[in-house]
Each structure stands twice: as structure tokens, then as C-alpha cells.
């Protein structure tokens, strides 16, 4: 007791962001990559929405003209990176070993390996529509995928992923004829929670919408190059 009596309690105001260190690292990454003229895109979705397949399709449109590379985030296995490499695209696999999202420091560690002459760096986040939304990875564009089998009611159920994204890709639209998925309803929901979202509809099976999405990325890339010039 004697010792406790000598102790005094003190209240300290702190007001510090729990994501502050992640935001700081992310800002440094964004600065470094943008200075090199690299456009970085963070792809976000639930598991199985078609992120890797979309990257495979995009590579066919972008790779003949541009230099692209991919960072793959997964809880386990090199499978996704292998699929990208099979397309002739350099890929790095981050195995999180259980973590449900990527953090900026994981990207930061890989940064020395990223070639300086890239045009596009895609980061495929761990499949999860919740946790990745809280972590800035230093991207220029955050792109959220919503596949038609998931249902058109997802934007309001998982608002953070949609409110923090710049573009929405509604994927697997070739399945829409056999699903109760209403593309217009999904877009409307998403735009209600984020009116600034740029929306695309794609099907990797038929190739629909892939060119339009690639054009959007190319235009954003040209903007970075013009700003740097």
C-alpha cells in the first residue's frame, strides 16, 4: 500500500491516429512511385470476385503497350502470382500467413525490388471486403470489385470498401442472365454511398468492358506522366 500511495495518476491527452503509421508509410510509397511515373492500383474485393482473372484480362490489353507488374496478397500459396507470371508479367507474392489484409509496410518492404521503369503497379489485396478497406497502401487508385454472384446489395453492407474506392468494377456480368443481380441497382447503391465512384461492368469470359477499364487506367497513368513532366 505504501508504494501505491506515492503513485499519482495523470490523464494525458494524446489524439493520435491508430492508422497514423500506416498512413505515413503509404504516403511515402505513393510519393516514391508517383515520382517514378508509376500508377499504382489497389484491387479490393471479397474472395473469388475475380481479381486475378481481371488482371489476366487487363494484361492482354495493357502489356503490349505498357510495362506492368503485380503484387499479390494472399493468406497462403503462390498460386495467384504464378498465374500472373504465366502471362509473362512480373509478380511478387506476399503471403500474410493469416492476416486478412495488406498493410503499407508490407508493400514498403518490396519497394526496392520494383523496377523503376514500370508504368503500372497493380496490388491485388487479400480477398476480403472488410479489413483491406482501412489500410492505404500508397495507391493512386483504389478499385473495388463486386461480382454478380455476390448480390447487388453489397455496397451498403460493406460501406467502407465502397466509400474509400475511386472505381467500382461489377465483374462476371456474363452470369447476370441466370442471377437475380440487377446491375443498375448495384450501381445506384454504390453511387448513393460514394457519388464520386467511377463504375465499370466487365466480363473476363466475354471480354466485355475490359478495354474501357484499361483506358481509364491508361488515362490516369498519362495524367501522372504529364504532372511529372
Amino acid at each position: 500500500m505504501g508504494k501505491d500511495e506515492k503513485m499519482k495518476t495523470k490523464e494525458v491527452m494524446v489524439l493520435e491516429d491508430l492508422l497514423g503509421s500506416n498512413k505515413k508509410i503509404a504516403a511515402e510509397i505513393r510519393q516514391k512511385l508517383t515520382d517514378k511515373g508509376i500508377l499504382t492500383i489497389n484491387l479490393l474485393s471479397s474472395p473469388g470476385a475475380g481479381k486475378t482473372t481481371l488482371l489476366e484480362s487487363l494484361s492482354e490489353v495493357l502489356a503490349p503497350e505498357y510495362k506492368m507488374a503485380v503484387i499479390e496478397g494472399d493468406i497462403e500459396t503462390e498460386r495467384d502470382a504464378d498465374r500472373i507470371r504465366a502471362k509473362g508479367i512480373p509478380a511478387w507474392q506476399i503471403i500474410t500467413g493469416g492476416a486478412c489484409h495488406l498493410e503499407a509496410k508490407m508493400i514498403g518492404k518490396l519497394l526496392p525490388e520494383i523496377p523503376a521503369d514500370l508504368d503500372f503497379l497493380f496490388i491485388e489485396n487479400v480477398g476480403n471486403l472488410v479489413c483491406p478497406a482501412s489500410f492505404d497502401l500508397g495507391e493512386n487508385i483504389r478499385c473495388v470489385l463486386l461480382s454478380t454472384p455476390e448480390g447487388d446489395d453489397k455496397p451498403k453492407k460493406y460501406p467502407k470498401a465502397f466509400t474509400t474506392s475511386d472505381c467500382l468494377v461489377i465483374s462476371k456480368t456474363d452470369l447476370v442472365s441466370v442471377l437475380p443481380f440487377n446491375i443498375e441497382r448495384a450501381k445506384k447503391e454504390a453511387l448513393e454511398i460514394n457519388p464520386a465512384l467511377i463504375t465499370f461492368t466487365t466480363s473476363a469470359q466475354t471480354g466485355a468492358g475490359i478495354k474501357e477499364l484499361a483506358e481509364y487506367f491508361s488515362e490516369s497513368f498519362q495524367k501522372i506522366r504529364r504532372t511529372n513532366a
Binding site: 503513485m7 495518476t9 494525458v12 491527452m13 493520435e16 492508422l19 503509421s21 467502407k160 457519388p195
Partner: protein
Amino acid sequence: MHELSLIANLFEIMEEKAAEKNAKKITHVVLQVGKLSGVVPDLLITAFDIYKKDTMTSEGELTIKEVPLKILCRDCKTEVVKDDFVFICTKCGSTNLKTLSGTELYLEKMELEID
């Protein structure tokens, strides 16, 4: 469940601040958690209780202050607290809005025991 990772960040910040004040123990921690912060308060509490074992916060309590999502319409200047996440002004229908609060994830303050 990214809450554990956020709690790990929290402990880093707390212990750094506590060391600056030469504190022996952290007895109370107050967090501000916005409605659109993307975290579940109950899971933060669970993660906090797991993480605090064998640290200077082992007897510490966590209080979470939930911060409402408040937006300002840049067109009609109305300030609205949103219970849904619909970013459309309830008064004039504009989508030209500014988020005033609701995305916070802050360590607001803590109570320390100092010699």
C-alpha cells in the same frame, strides 16, 4: 479481423507516450471510433484484452467513444448526422458533401500511474 493489428498499433503509441511521461502503468485508455471507421468496437475490446496481458496496461480498461457520421452539404450548408451511409443531402438532394466526422480511429487520451 484487422482489429488486432490496430490494437498492436495502439499499444505502440501508448507505450511510447507512457515512456515519455515515465509512467509505470497505463490504467485507462479512451478511443474515438467513427461509425465509418470500418472497425467493430466489440472486437477492439476483445483484441485489447488479449493484447494487454503482460504489458504495463495489464490492468488497464478500455473505453470506446463512438463518433457519429456527420456530413456537411456544401450547397445548402446543412449539417446532418447520418445513420445510414447514403451520401446524399437529406434536405436538398446534393451529393456535394463533406464528411465532418465518423472516420476517426484515434487514441484520445489515457490515464497513467506515475511515481
